[in-house]
Symmetry: C4
Subunit: 214 residues, 4 copies
């Protein structure tokens, strides 16, 4: 059925569609990273009240800024991971798109979780929710890589299997460390975010070491 083959889009179209996937992902990540600040807001005050209380209101927002910093770093790191990953992905199929959308839905929820933990960092629930959300981001992007690299399904044929496995493991490290921080949220909620600064940084370093050999 040569006619049917004729109706399929050319290779250039495949490239262009892959570009749209990457572009759409970049746009969602860019919006989410910028929306992190959308709920940073001081209550409306009259001139007199503001003159007296604005500085203390701003200092009370400190945990919000910490939370913004962590989340900006987090989305930034995963954007870099996505960038590196898609340099090796050469084709796409519906499976890749669906997993990528799942990853993006976790990213889209981060401004909400981030604001929640920034407002109520002294409670268990927001810390668990944030750690869960961050872990889901890491697990879904690992799923994208696993799906694309399994049996060289969508990636560059020349990548060696040992490399592929090493990378998969390195991408699993950050979500694991987020999951491990959940018990801390039950013991001392305010300390949970301290772990987030240390653990992912450590695991990212580890990931970098493996990726360098890539």
């Amino acid at each position: 059925m040569p006619e049917a083959r004729n109706t399929s889009p050319e290779i250039g179209d495949m490239d262009r569609a892959l570009e749209r996937i990457v572009f759409f992902s970049d746009a969602v990540m860019a919006i989410a990273i910028t929306l992190l600040t959308i709920d940073l807001r001081v209550p409306e005050m009259t001139r007199e009240v503001a003159a007296l209380h604005l500085t203390s209101e701003l200092s009370a927002m400190m945990p919000q800024f910490v939370s913004f910093g962590i989340s900006f770093m987090l989305i930034g790191i995963y954007w870099m991971a996505h960038l590196r990953m898609f340099r090796y992905i050469k084709r796409y199929d519906p499976g890749l798109i669906v997993l990528n959308l799942l990853f993006l839905s976790c990213i889209a929820l981060l401004p909400f979780s981030s604001y929640l933990v920034g407002s109520y960092n002294f409670l268990t629930a927001p810390n668990v929710l944030y750690a869960g959300n961050a872990a889901a981001v890491g697990l879904t992007i690992s799923a994208v890589w696993w799906y694309a690299s399994h049996k060289h399904r969508l990636i560059d044929q020349r990548l060696s299997p040992t490399l592929i496995h090493g990378v998969t493991l390195s991408w699993l490290a950050p979500p694991m460390s987020f999951l491990l921080s959940i018990p801390i949220a039950f013991i001392d909620p305010t300390s949970t975010s301290v772990v987030w600064w240390i653990l992912p940084a450590g695991t990212t370093l580890l990931a970098r070491l493996i990726a360098r050999r890539w």
Copy 2:
């Protein structure tokens, strides 16, 4: 009047303008899909009130998360449809742009409808409004395809008419199922969203089957 022909942009410009249309559409869809979470918010509470009530406030938001999930899936599916459709569209004219903008205006309204049905899923009006909005998204994208493919107006000349019709029909299936869910909103509002999870999935599967032969 050969001079007039000289003033028309070259083919490369046509390609670039088509790219801008696709890009603009991607941007609007990416923003709408990320804005779905913008109204996810717990009321401001003092430390003491939050310690007692935050968990229950979060559980009360469950319908909001369900609504986010459905809408994310919906925009995701239509983004994929748009991606597939524009692989075959090779030219553009004002008609295409206007219909595409109509489609995008329906997409832009989804965060509003989605939040409304998430807040008041137990009432008829929000369910009708959401189903109507989702159906409008599906009908307008079908109109884009119908317009572009009619007499091969803007698409690849080699696509067969039977294929084109099959695709049109498959794209009409999801909006039809959304319209069919409206009567349920009058009988039992809370169940309407259950139908949204099943029907579109079924029709999308059907659409996929037809599209695979594409």
Copy 3:
């Protein structure tokens, strides 16, 4: 000084920078058009209050939806104008960027003006403000075109001067009609938006007729 010439970016870089300008403009317009819905919101109500009053709250939002429709149409039309215009612009300089940013700042203000006139369409001030904003959008994009086309500064050398002037005039028509609607806002505020539906449509049609000869 041949060395200095060596340090200037190649032609490919000029193209890429022009693409970034177009891309940035598209992104701002896409965000503004999607943010038009951001303030569409019903007041928070308890289950009982919502059961009684949600439908009437939604009907009371009718002017908001009208205002959304007008503004979506407006940004859509100017996005199309921008698309058409930049098919002919082949170079850029700081002047073009600054004028284009001025145009984008007017676009960025539209969600605010649009929401204002949607909320208080029965008053003079919001109608004047909206008409002024819409006129400013039209005047600034006309300035972009005038600047780029004057003495073929940045456009395709082969466009004829008569054509260029016709286009300039056609782009001045919509802002003129918005300015002309301002007196009506002082006599009967609620009718102002009626004029917005008719006048720009008429002038756009006129502009289309001229542009077709382009």
Copy 4:
């Protein structure tokens, strides 16, 4: 180790990844510049209250519009700087991405600082915060340039060292002038923004003069 070389992405991939960095930056800047208007909002009023007080509410928003104007100009200028800078950057490495993300995080905070200073321009703290944020934007983008241009790390090999240093200095001028405006915020807060209109304009002019020789 020729096999390892085989697994590295080709030059085309490097270009594409660099494009994604530029694109992501453009998207964040476009979102931040459009979000500047997101908190422009009049309080909700009944018909009667609005008829009496809307005009005075709008005039009271004047400092908000001034603040919007300054911030739009600021992001616009830095977007132009980014545009010019990345015409010369030919490669990337993790260091560049991290510094660029730092720059973007400062940009993402501008809508918050801008709204704050617009609401409470008569107080010291918001003016200090805004000047600090604006200075941070300028310092981080200077860091990007310094990092990329140092020993021709990532830039075009043909740029002369004197030129590179001139550019670095010119990019340091605007943040310096913002830092210098901080003392004024302690003496007469309302005058601080006057300096912002003049000083950066002057330094930008200076920067332009140097860059022209570029």
